[in-house]
């Protein structure tokens, strides 16, 4: 019954707002109809079996409104901290673009529009939501999202573009569902890097953040997309990333999940034509009663595509992690080369990880490997460091940092430092009991 009520509530939200939502109304109608038909994930939904939403769905949150709630000087300081003064930073407050806090310097040839504007002008349309209970949050995002960003990346090498997706502050921003979407169109011969920070300034409040990233990579496009998630510990964070890779295109993506009470990332990546390459680095760092879930669906739909997936999980206190990495090699996708690893360290008795790499192969000539480990630090590594004069606690601290750093060591400059500092800070909080 609770579920029916929850769906009805979302339906009411939609009914109340749909006249004001930008762009094609039909796609939203269909998404809402899909949600009504399929329902929300429940205990029997396979892809949600390790992440229970009863508590979260009981919270009667209304969709966020485009009213600013942020402490502007603090945000401007964050803007300076995360990116050099000559590179662009786009700021979003509860899902809505805030031009007065953003900096467009250095965008160069890159075309940017707030999503609401781009939907109205017809530059972009919302992708059709997929059916199924497990896709409920995508359907919701499609039905209700009002703003976000559209980035069109033309041929050429572009500098880093940073997006700060902030949950807002104070009571005004609490108890809300915040919808946000990023649509990226990477053109042939483009080379770009996009950094996304999700942050909840006032860490004690509850809110839902529903995010969706839609990426299309034209032939030979190269793109790095990093998501650094530092939501408050009362938050429920979902982020879908859908990417389609055309011929010889390259996507490198990082998901660094440090925050939220419950976080759920869904990566759906399709290697759709020859020579496409995807690299996926995931870091889950949870503590207290935090729960981080990531489901990856990697479709090798064409021959001679390559992929590499590295998951690192570090769990302290009662922290939990879920990693489900599915690689699906389609018939005819010969010459596929796919590697996946999931490495996990449990720092306390109560910490838990459910990890499951899955391979489904329907082609003959493929090279696929996967492996998962769960345990404590490697004894040989500890001894190596101690034999050089480090005490055991020093050696452990260095190795734990190294373990986590493997997920983001390719991120450089101010952005790399920002991420490293955030991770180190989180590592210091991890409870070993």
């Amino acid at each position: 019954m609770a579920e029916v009520q929850t769906v009805e509530r979302f339906q009411q939200d939609y009914a109340a707002r749909k006249q004001h939502l930008p762009g094609d109304a039909q796609v939203r109608e269909r998404a809402m109809a899909q949600l009504l038909a399929d329902g929300l994930p429940n205990r029997k939904t396979e892809r949600w079996r390790y992440t229970r939403l009863n508590r979260v769905l009981k919270q009667e949150f209304a969709p966020a409104k485009p009213e600013s709630s942020l402490n502007d000087p603090a945000v401007l300081a964050l803007v300076d901290q995360v990116a050099n003064s000559d590179s662009p930073v786009l700021v979003f407050d509860q899902g809505y673009y805030r031009p007065e806090l953003s900096r467009l310097t250095g965008l160069g040839e890159v075309e940017f529009k707030p999503l609401g504007v781009a939907l109205e002008s017809g530059d972009v349309t919302l992708a059709e939501a997929t059916g199924g209970r497990d896709r409920a949050f995508d359907q919701l995002n499609t039905a209700l999202v009002a703003d976000g960003a559209w980035l069109n990346l033309p041929a050429g090498k572009h500098g880093l573009i940073t997006l700060l997706v902030l949950a807002g502050e104070g009571e005004a921003a609490a108890e809300q569902t915040q919808y946000w979407r990023l649509v990226i169109s990477a053109q042939s011969q483009s080379e770009s890097e996009i950094a996304i920070v999700y942050a909840g300034g006032d860490l004690s409040k509850a809110y839902h953040a529903n995010n969706y990233i839609d990426i299309d990579l034209a032939p030979t496009a190269q793109l790095v997309v990093s998501q650094f998630q530092q939501q408050g510990e009362e938050a429920f964070h979902v982020a879908a990333l859908r990417a389609r890779l055309q011929r010889d295109s390259v996507l490198k993506t990082h998901v660094l999940a440090l925050g939220a009470g419950i976080s759920r990332d869904d990566l759906d990546i399709i290697l759709d034509d020859k020579g496409a390459h995807a690299e996926i680095d995931v870091l889950q760092l949870t503590n207290n009663r935090q729960h981080a879930d990531l489901h990856l669906n990697l479709e090798h739909a064409a021959p001679h595509c390559t992929s590499q997936v590295n998951h690192h999980g570090l769990f302290g206190g009662h922290g939990r992690g879920v990693f489900n990495g599915r690689v699906h090699v389609h018939p005819g996708a010969d010459g596929t080369d796919s590697q996946m690893s999931s490495k996990n360290l449990l720092l306390s008795e109560a910490a838990e990880i459910d990890t499951k790499p899955e391979l489904e192969i329907y082609a003959d000539d493929v090279k696929c490997s996967h492996g998962a480990t769960v345990g404590d630090l490697n004894r040989d590594e500890l001894f190596y460091l101690r034999s050089r004069g480090l005490t055991e606690p020093q050696a452990r601290a260095l190795l734990l940092n190294a373990f986590a750093a493997a997920s983001f060591s390719s991120l450089v400059g101010l952005w790399g430092e920002f991420v490293a500092e955030g991770v180190t800070e989180k590592m210091d909080q991890l409870s070993h009991e």
Partner: protein, 251 residues
């Protein structure tokens, strides 16, 4: 300086070292040779304090102090260094960060001031030159993606930074081509001094053409069966280890 007396060591209940005695004086270079399974690596590991080895008899002292009572890091602070046969790769751990922490840990233990990033950089550069190493080593993760030769060179580089009084090099020559062997050997030779001793553990005498030892010991079935000068290594080169079998059989 180092005195190993009648050392008996078991691994998982199996006797590996069966009464080994060895004395290493200041500035001396000792080579320990022997066939596979003779206990060479066990000796290296026990000296450096690796877990999993049970000392059931005998003693090891360094300058009169009981080495077996010390943790691996305390041994490093006393000036003991182990060059690993198989150095571990640690993705994500920057080589310079690691070595600066290590050098400072050793310096702290001696009551010396710690190096800041700039001091360390200058010293690291100097040592890298000694080993003909590329500066990119400093920004790479520890042994991650290193070739066999690079790993061994990295061990000698670490030794150069830590400036030990006693270096145990466990099959430092294994997996090296002739150029890498030359560079590693020259590195060791440059670090030889009147107050620094070496134990070279090796299967082959090839290394000893480059790093000429003062003493050569032959280890077989957990005991030193012969000791001599450099000529003993050459003799082994021509006769192999086969004679050991006969000698032990006769004994």
């Amino acid at each position: 300086m180092l005195k190993v007396n009648d050392l008996k060591v078991e691994v998982e209940g199996k006797s590996i070292l069966k009464g080994l005695t060895l004395n290493v004086g200041a500035g001396e270079v000792h080579a320990i040779m022997g066939p596979n399974g003779s206990g060479k690596s066990t000796l290296s590991h026990v000296l450096s304090g690796r877990e999993g080895y049970e000392v059931v008899g005998g003693s090891i002292t360094l300058d009169g102090e009981d080495l077996l009572a010390l943790s691996p890091e305390e041994r490093a602070w006393k000036g003991l260094f182990l060059g690993f046969q198989y150095p571990v790769a640690i993705p994500g751990l920057n080589s310079s960060v690691f070595m600066r922490e290590a050098v400072n840990a050793v310096r702290r233990s001696r009551g010396e001031s710690e190096y800041d990033a700039m001091d360390f950089l200058a010293i690291a550069r100097e040592k890298m030159k000694l080993l003909e190493m590329d500066e990119s080593f400093m920004t790479r993760a520890v042994n991650d993606g290193f070739s066999g030769g690079e790993k061994k060179r990295n061990e000698i580089y670490q030794m150069a930074l830590l400036e030990p009084r006693l270096a145990i090099l466990d099959e430092i020559d294994s997996g090296l081509d002739i150029d890498a062997l030359r560079i590693v050997s020259e590195g060791i030779n440059k670090l030889r001094s009147a107050d620094r001793s070496f134990i070279l553990v090796t299967h082959y005498q090839r290394l000893l053409d480059y790093v000429v030892p003062d003493y050569v010991h032959v280890l077989s079935r957990g005991v030193i069966v012969r000791s001599g000068g450099r000529e003993l290594a050459l003799e082994l080169e021509s006769s192999g280890y086969g004679w050991l079998e006969n000698e032990t059989a006769q004994a």
